[in-house]
Symmetry: C3
Subunit: 343 residues, 3 copies
């Protein structure tokens, strides 16, 4: 394989051309029917988790194993040294190792580095700098794969796109509802932001429904609108928990924190509690187009974000959606490493 | 291979016919002399540990690796999300993910799921429902292997049976002493319950020795008695720490909590402390039949449960007993997955 | 392969003849150009980490994977049982398992055991007994590899020697400066002790620079002096942070605790704080021989132990030095297991 994806970092899906995203999806779909034989023999990935994971851990580790390679899972602050990301830091505090060493050192044994670093949720501006991820990208001589940062979860977004392909063939022009849902805790925006951008870029007719106060950041909305315009899709925003379900052809639910209240979540609480009713129910799902599937990135809090009846009903695709993490991750790894994807 | 074990869960040894247990033991013994070449190439197991492990982790992980497969080790509550098991739960507490999603999602990447979930030790009735294990079994489309639950440790029991075969050839009619031993903490009953049932079902002449107050549950004793009757063995219970050693042909020591005092361990303490003398000593071992082996599932507290002189003496088989975990686990995995066991 | 390294423990580099160390280095260098194909197929290592790790974990785990084998990573006290090391202990405390069982049990599934056990830093005499490492070595029937103990870090020392070979070809007669550096916490002596002994034994002209009060133990210094005498090198000690850089051909920086103040680190603090100026700066590096490389075992605290300008400058070899951990570990594992090193 000799192509434009080899050797690149995979930090956000919007860093890649639509044609490149299509290539990744084609490869993922191809891997579901024909697996190359151990194309990553002798190769390794370092997976650096600063936060918990089930799907990403299992799918990435199994992706490496099925391809004949190996994944080393490291947890800085627990089994590995706490990391410093800031340039020029005088390291007399808790962090014992700088990413300026950690990244190139891991690259001496591994061919790729995955990084999961959730936002701290104190300052949005600080989180939006994605210091840990960006430091790995700056100092690693091998491809860095974002396993979820403050702003992006591109492996999830790629699996979401593969799911939409499986549902619709071509998702272009289909009505995609991304609805906020109540959750007891303020959550990061990486997944809804990535899903919104991906759906807009895929030419879908996107509705973002969320309570007043739970706006996504202005620059995210502007980028989404630009993607919708470029792709022939469209984007609208609603502040109603019910009506946007009308005619939706796919429903994607997710909770997120209000960026406006970042770091002041006690102040956000009344707003959040007032929106307790934003839950995906059978009644709401009855308003959609016939058989519109229900998507969620998981983990999901049952009967808080979405009712059992929806999750356990025939329209939930959350499990195959999660299952798409494996072929999409394999496609990303093979493409970045330039391995095993003969076409 | 085309047989009755393929695709089944492995939750308790008593779920399997004696002939099926024999098949597993035959296969385990066979794997000790001839290993198939990478029969699990491209296949994976998710090992979900809610509690610590040394033998189970090492033997299961190495079993998968030696067979050409891979094990993903997950620790919900630490590196993975805290799990909810109860149907209908409104998930607004600490658990972020329901087993109704976790199990089928893991099954999208893994061919088998191992689960270790110790009892909470507050309510025996609650623990006996084995909610976590049973939820995985209910919601996983791939085989679930019990890596120790509240009531059962079938991988250990299978290794115990292989050990008894190695010692006796045919253990039928041999005198098996299962003796309670002092331990500073109240421990689960999974291992002694599983060992008792396995020995009774194997047709051994079983003596259960334990202090008054440390009865095993009535239904366990009834099942053990039925197994003994069906197999031509027998079962008796003694409340003496010395005399049951007389003529024993194998001694299996284990401590366990008094189910009657479950959740009230401060009340159990006087009973427990009064039984401090229940320790396996050389003096006691001198009463057995010549060279009767000493068994324990490990880990074991030296000089509390059993004296150094016994563990370090020639009659201890605790290390080869633990070593039997590898071939028995390989036999279970291969049998459930229908792989690599030509006969 | 049929040689004198097969089956041995790898606890300290000084346990091996200089010719044996050379064999390991030759094999490591050879592995950097030609890798055997899966010489460890079906074989496993248990890596027991009582302390955090990045380089050792990644390089050992990848070494096993690249050679076709597998590493099981265990963390006693977290995912595995807390271990007891002392002979004759009455185990009624926190430790649930004795190394007398853990070591031989791991050897039933694994072909090699790695152990990382840092000093407790309360009593130097206690730490110097290296109870955990020595218990594994005493009770394991398979080779034990020290992944850093109180006194030794032989895998690091071997990588250091490979680095010196790469820099100098033959390091004999070259001026090696081992300089203490300020660090906010009292650190173990394993790395500086191992580096000192290795450099002295390699026939280098060694200067140890450290503040008064931060002497290395007398027996270490005596052994280093003997090694220097035997190898045709020499050893001197200086208490100046500047002048020893004059003419140095390689600078190795490391912080360590004062053994004299072990367990009384509040008393050591004034001494330590008075030595805050012992930091590797560009000004100091300007005094060395031209282009003298800068070495450190990592992790390193930037702008505390050494300035950014040095680490980010062209003379820092800390990343390739860490990269040498992979081939040296592969050489050790293959040599101890007698696998895959045709010559």
């Amino acid at each position: 394989m000799n192509d434009e994806l080899v050797g690149r970092h995979f930090l956000a899906l919007e860093d890649f051309l639509p044609s490149e995203v299509d290539t990744l999806l084609d490869r993922a779909a191809g891997l579901m029917t024909a697996m190359p034989s151990r194309p990553l023999e002798g190769r390794s990935a370092a997976l650096v988790f600063l936060n918990p994971s089930l799907r990403t851990r299992a799918s990435f580790e199994v992706a490496m194993a099925r391809l004949g390679g190996h994944a080393v899972v490291l947890t800085p602050g627990a089994d590995a040294w706490k990391l410093e990301a800031r340039d020029g830091a005088v390291m007399d505090g808790a962090a014992a190792e700088h990413i300026r060493e950690a990244a190139p050192v891991l690259a001496t044994t591994c061919d790729l580095i995955g990084v999961r670093s959730f936002p701290v949720m104190e300052s949005f501006a600080d989180d939006a700098r994605e210091e840990v991820l960006r430091a790995f990208a700056a100092h690693s001589p091998v491809p860095v794969v974002n396993m979820e940062s403050a702003l992006s979860h591109p492996l999830q977004a790629l699996a979401d796109l593969l799911t939409l392909r499986q549902v619709f063939g071509d998702p272009r022009g289909r009505r995609f509802l991304l609805t906020w849902a109540y959750h007891p805790k303020p959550l990061p925006i990486a997944v809804p932001r990535s899903a919104l951008l991906a759906a807009c870029r895929a030419g879908m007719r996107v509705t973002l429904a969320r309570p007043k106060g739970f706006e996504l950041p202005d620059d995210t909305m502007a980028l989404a609108a630009r993607f919708a315009a470029e792709s022939g899709g469209d984007l609208s925003v609603r502040e109603d928990p019910d009506e946007p379900f009308d005619g939706a052809e796919v429903v994607y639910a997710k909770s997120w924190a209000s960026p406006a209240f970042y770091g002041r979540f006690a102040d956000e609480a009344p707003l959040r509690e007032a929106a307790r009713g934003w839950r995906v129910t059978e009644r709401r799902m009855a308003r959609t187009a016939p058989n519109a599937p229900f998507m969620h990135c998981l983990p999901v809090r049952r009967n808080v974000v979405v009712d059992d009846a929806v999750l356990d009903g025939p329209r939930s695709v959350v499990v195959p959606q999660a299952g798409n993490r494996l072929p999409t991750t394999m496609a990303v790894v093979l493409s970045l490493l330039g391995a095993g994807v003969a076409r």
